[in-house]
């Protein structure tokens, strides 16, 4: 169990992430602005955790490992997220994790993200975080319920 938790933490920090701050909010494909996450943050960290969707918005079953492409993460000073908001990061929905013997790569759902990896956050010690799931056909979910993020 502890090992599993450690793995999830690693995924939260090291999953394929495209940080979008400063690139005008476009997708990671635009302008080659993708960045690799820097060193793991020191000091207290805030881990955003979530449950991947398992249905489409019409209640048809969805396989998150197969049908999801990535998540968009949003940060605001208030909880009023809108479709006009630009994501500050894209997090792959599935990550490859080496097996213990290093010979194979297992596909694991990404369900955590370290918020301190986000660059250029809005000012303020109280922020709000939300996210959307994006399917492999680029269809986007509604926003997840906003979460208060106390940075003080």
């Amino acid at each position: 169990m502890e090992r599993h938790t450690t793995m999830r933490m690693l995924l939260g920090g090291l999953a394929a992430v495209i940080l979008l701050a400063g690139c005008g909010g476009g997708s990671g494909d635009e302008g080659g602005t993708s960045k690799v996450p820097g060193p793991a943050p020191s000091g207290p960290v805030s881990i955003l955790s979530w449950s991947p969707p398992t249905t489409y918005n019409d209640n048809v079953s969805l396989d998150p490992e197969r049908d999801l492409a990535y998540y968009e993460i949003f940060v605001r000073q208030d909880p009023n997220f809108t479709d006009d908001d630009l994501p500050v990061a894209e997090v792959a929905a599935v990550a490859g994790v080496p097996s213990p013997d290093g010979l194979t790569i297992a596909r694991v759902l990404v369900t955590e993200f370290t918020l301190e990896l986000l660059p250029s956050l809005p000012n303020g010690s109280q922020l709000y975080v939300s996210m959307r799931a994006v399917g492999i056909d680029k269809q986007k979910s509604a926003f997840m319920d906003p979460l208060p993020w106390d940075r003080s």
């Binding site: 881990i47 969707p53 918005n57 975080v129 399917g135 319920d145």
Partner: protein, 136 residues
């Protein structure tokens, strides 16, 4: 069997009438049959209905039913429900049945290439159970 209803004049596939969330419904339609093969009109008291089939055989063997006793001159169908292979060619044929159980020959086959499946427009549901955990 004094008279046999003539075969249908033509069969045509119309555009999709509706594409609901779970299926792709299309409609096949055909012209109404009003005469016997000798050209005489079908009597007013007789009811005309149609049986519609599809097959992958251009010779119209191994027919699969789409519907029988159809009073209208069109019927909806779902290519996937019927087991049609996307991208493959299928052939439709119709025969006319009169209330007196007089049955026509099959109409000439109408070839149709089953179009590729439409792209999904379903969005995932939103992630749930979000929580922010502060760790030192």
């Amino acid at each position: 069997m004094e008279k046999i209803a003539k075969h249908l004049l033509w069969i045509g596939i119309l555009a999709a009438l509706a594409i609901p969330a779970f299926a792709e419904t299309r409609t096949i339609s055909w012209s109404a049959v009003t005469t016997y093969t000798d050209g005489t009109p079908i009597e007013a008291g007789k009811t005309v209905s149609y049986s519609v089939y599809w097959t992958t055989d251009p010779g119209l063997a191994s027919l699969h039913s789409i519907g029988t006793s159809i009073a209208e001159t069109s019927t909806p169908f779902d290519p996937d429900v019927l087991g049609m292979i996307r991208g493959g060619t299928v052939y439709f044929t119709v025969k006319t049945v009169l209330s007196a159980n007089e049955i026509s020959a099959l109409s000439p086959g109408y070839a149709w290439v089953v179009p590729p499946a439409p792209p999904t427009t379903r969005a995932p549901s939103a992630p749930k159970g979000g929580i922010i955990i502060r760790k030192k």
